[in-house]
Symmetry: C2
Subunit: 236 residues, 2 copies
DNA sequence: AAGTGGTCTAGACCACTTG
DNA sequence: AAGTGGTCTAGACCACTTT
């Protein structure tokens, strides 16, 4: 299982900031020399990280650390698409930003003990000019020290891109649970809905490496014109 | 791209019935001889088919053609799980079986031209003794010739297992679109729901090899005690 | 003991990108 | 032309299962 150790060290390089998002890795021959393994073994480790979108290979150019930019966010983590026609990147507007102690649900989802504090961020996402999604995000304050509304708002990339660029936290996977509910008054108002309107409620736990939970997000979605799309191919 | 050709031939063996579900493949050395490639190339082709759950490897025993049995169905194609606690295989009861010409939606989903006929199968799925899911299935009559309600009901495996065992059609992937709706009268009655109750509506197109559509299924789910669960790791 | 898949190696050659 | 990743080969050795 040499390739596992190589993979582990590559992940460590990313987590430590030694390999920054967007930067090129050494070529495969050099990596093989560094780790004292054959090129084939390096390739196997890199193969897996490429499959997980952590690394990105380009023939003739090199291997790069994946950035959580709009493109990657759209195809890996944004599953709301119009009933017909192509997907579109949402226009995100901050609605609330606060810090308080974690609810029991949040603590459980984030793996916190007792009552540690969390940042709570609420966004309204617009698609085709209309409010469609009400996001409520909770992240552990201890994991994102010194986060401020100003810094958060001033980000020039996606939310996950900000976690990555400002805190070295790379979101690599997420679990979601989806159900149908009637819109709560607050969400109904934000989405211009009648409270008797059915909406999707999506609970997401997003993880960084080693399945360490980093974010708990609840999304309320108006699915009159949009769907939650999912593809089943290589379940795990 | 030799390994692509090897993969293609292995798929052909499965589709032609030469390699039956559950049966063992020749060992890797023999496959390499047969295809005139190295063992490494065979391994790469098999690697991909294993990742797609089409083949199943067991160290020391051999490589086998995957069967669409309950276990595989549950972890690859059944995404409804109780809010808390472990998943459970549903108790499936036939509600309707008929044959008529395809609606425009069905024809589009199944890639049919004009008005070809389809079998329509409706099931009610019970979990923990209660009706939770109302499934409406449409499959092209031309693809499943001679299907009868008696044969369908007498199956001893999953629905996808029946497609595979009786027609040599292996479902390998599926796309789903999920939204929130109010229960229609028929579904509400079958699921013991008030018509004002919100339910999940899931539209699924299931594909066999080469992304050829084989089934169009609409599922209505009562999500008061169950969720639609999804894991995002290796998007495609 | 014999047979299977699992890991690792060392190297050749090809395809693509860049200067 | 030089440097990168992509494919393929041939073989050694290990881990597991069955007889």
């Amino acid at each position: 299982m040499l390739y596992r150790q190589v993979k582990r060290q590559l992940i460590n390089d990313i987590q430590s900031g030694l390999a920054a998002p967007g930067a090129a890795l050494p070529n495969e021959k050099d990596l093989a020399l560094r780790f004292n393994v054959s090129v084939g073994t390096v390739r196997r480790a890199v193969d897996e990280l490429v499959a997980e979108h952590v690394l990105l290979r380009q023939q003739g150019r090199g291997t790069f650390v994946g950035k959580l930019d709009r493109e990657r966010f759209m195809f890996q983590f944004f599953k709301i698409a119009p009933r017909t026609g192509p997907s579109e990147f949402p226009d995100v507007r901050l609605h609330k930003f606060s810090k308080s102690s974690a609810s029991r649900t949040e603590a459980q989802a984030l793996g916190l003990h007792g009552t540690q504090s969390v940042f709570r961020i609420e966004n309204v996402l617009y698609l085709k000019g209309r409010p469609v999604i009400h996001d409520q995000i909770a992240i552990a304050a201890a994991m994102f020290p010194g986060l401020t509304q100003a810094a958060f708002t001033a980000r020039t990339t996606t939310i996950y891109g900000h976690y990555q660029a400002a805190y070295g936290i790379t979101i690599v996977e997420a679990d979601e649970r989806v159900r149908a509910e009637l819109a709560k008054p607050e969400s109904a108002q934000l989405l211009n809905l009648d409270p008797a309107n059915p909406v999707l409620c999506i609970e997401r736990v997003a993880y960084t490496f080693d399945r360490k939970p980093a974010e708990f997000r609840t999304s309320i979605v108006d699915t009159r014109d949009f769907d939650y799309v999912s593809r089943m191919r290589e379940a795990a």
